[in-house]
Amino acid sequence: MSTAETPVTQVEKKQKKKTVQWGDDPKIGFVEALYLPAIAGGIATALKHAFFKKRSTAQYPEQKPEMPPNYRGVHRLNRDEEGRVKCVACYMCQTACPANCIEIIAAPAPQDDPKWANRDKFPATFTIDELRCIYCGMCEEACPVDAIELTSIYDLTGMSRQEMIFDKEKLLSVFDETSKAGLDPVRTNRGALGPASEKSLQSADSPPPPGRGKHG
């Protein structure tokens, strides 16, 4: 097929060849070729670590590490001031979840119960498959009422897959445990309704609304 090739494609091929740059290995001198200086350097590093540096090995599990406050571990479902589940079953977390690990079934809030008088909708069930979860934190990003949060609990274990599927009660108990232990995530209480409800900078600086000119 070489006859079919136009001069232009041949030129292109030549240019392509030129763009490839091969690096050469650095030249090794006589001293380096002996490897003795490198061995000595290595032994020096090991000795320095053994005798002069602070040890960084932790005696886990007797000694537990302190996780950074923005660590994304096991989920919890927050309670509101009246002890009800804060979640309003808007399905935003389930929609945002890239791993499809959240499943909510919503129901109208019990209308006869005075405790629920000011709530329309609540999650009848709320399950998170902690094994399927990738701990990305999109659910708490999405939550408009700060009901779901990721705590700094990292050592999640279980004897079966079934017990790793957390239901509403379990998630609420994680809240009770962590809030009692003073382990609230750093994101807690950042605002009543999250950043979406906060006033943007623009509103303060913006010109008077249109139509309120000389005619009022």
Binding site: A89, T95, P108, K199, P209, P210
Partner: protein, 581 residues
Amino acid sequence: MSTVFVNDIEVEVGPKDNLIQAARAAGVEIPHYCWHEALSVVASCRMCLVEVGEKKPDGTIAMGPKLVPACQTPAKPGTVVKTETAKVKTGQQMTLEFLLLNHPLDCSICDQAGECYLQDYTFKFGKAQSRLNEPKVQRLDKYHIGEQIALFTDRCVMCTRCVRFTREISGTAELQVVARGSVEEIDVFPNKPCNNKLAGNVVDLCPVGALCSKDFLYKKRVWWLKSQKSVCAGCSTGCSIEVDQNEDHVYRLRPRANPLAQGHFMCDEGRFGFKYVQSDNRLKGPTSKSINTVGASVNAVTNGNGSVAGKLFQPADLAVVDHWPAAIQEAREKIKAAVDANASSFAAVFSPMMSVEEAYLLASYLKGLNRNVKLLMGPVPVVGEDDCYPKNVNGSAPTAEKTKFTIRAEKCPNRMGVEKILKHFQGAVVPIEEAIQGTHGIQAWYFVGGYATPDESAGWVTPAIEKATESAKLLIVQDIFPSVLSKRADIVFAGSAFTERDGTFINHRGLAQAFRAATRPPHASRADGRVLNELCQRQGLYNTEVLRKEIASKIPSLESLSVGDLGVHGVELQQLVGAYS
């Protein structure tokens, strides 16, 4: 026709169109809440305010000094509409800010979120902030509006579409506006809830989340619903609908505007009457007396391999034996044998729930075996009389020319389509009741059901049919629910409901509409068309477009189906158009 200029785009509009419709023709969206094509104009929401002027014969344009509502302004020749000027945009922002003054902004728990015009218009035309510093007026929800309707009072924008609907379309006038100003709200008279047969439409009409369907309330967020264009199988009006489903579960039906079929609305019988589709009582798979696959194929597998229970793998999880090929093969052989023995003692009973394609497949197959095979029309369910709306003041039906919506007494979607097929193949439509009078001599039966009767005792099998089939030598039943016949049958084909099939329904006045499968048939049941396609041993898969073209070429009275794709509005059978108009 008149020429109108919308944002410098020249469009031709009809004599009765308003500026919203003119703008729509030009591809420009004018936001509106209170205006609806099927209702009277009130121009109360002020969302459609636009700048309007006139193009003089000499070419100069004189714009009006103030904004006018587009819904109320007729598109007369030479009208100039401007929707993108600063004045109009300011007007839209102010209107939305006003409508949202006392709105609770509870989108996170509102069922309308995702299909809400307040959300959409605020995003497109509104502004982000409200200047209201005072607390919002909060009002109680009203769950007493109707059996199927709940009113979330503080989400309402007082467009009064619902009020006008009950006055103009249903004629029952249950809803009205009470009080004025910021405490204005929709309500019913005490102990007179809005329970008319068209009441569900007010939920669709509500542009915001104020009126919600109790049936659908909090069941699913709308962005997970996938819609399929379909046709309601509830009565012979054949309302165009959208079937909204998620993961093979139908959550709701919504009317789809179709000027050729029903207009904009649908009745509550159809809207909430689809529940039988997901009844637990459905037939779950093909069964046959001789190959002993009674029950669902899934059950057969677990029973058949009980000996391996306790091993690591449950065989039922791994393999489900498909009994369809065996059942269809057996049916084909038995039909052939029965027809060969005595063709005139073989009868097939067609159901008016069948699609045109299914009826054609079965009829052409049986008549292809032998011309003497009898094709009969199954029971046509008729309940009461046609129910016409709007009702008069005293609750009686309107005159024919004033009728805006009719719920037909004939509770099946396709009597006309099946009759046309039968007329072609049999020469005449013979109802089964007529054929089984006296000594009928029919020994072998092929019954097609598909009726919406999950309750066995209220099934479609009349005592006469039951008696006539008692001594049958062969009984094949294709149905969706168990009945006396299916229990006695040699072979049962588990068919599908209308939301699980593709096909054509022809409504009471000869409008052929395509309905499409929205979900998969449950368990091991199959779409009837697919079963019949395999029974006939036709080449390829069941394809409605191909079949429609074939039917059109063979049956002159269904020639209009030759287009194949019937579009969203359907196709009228030509010879009936004249008769109707």
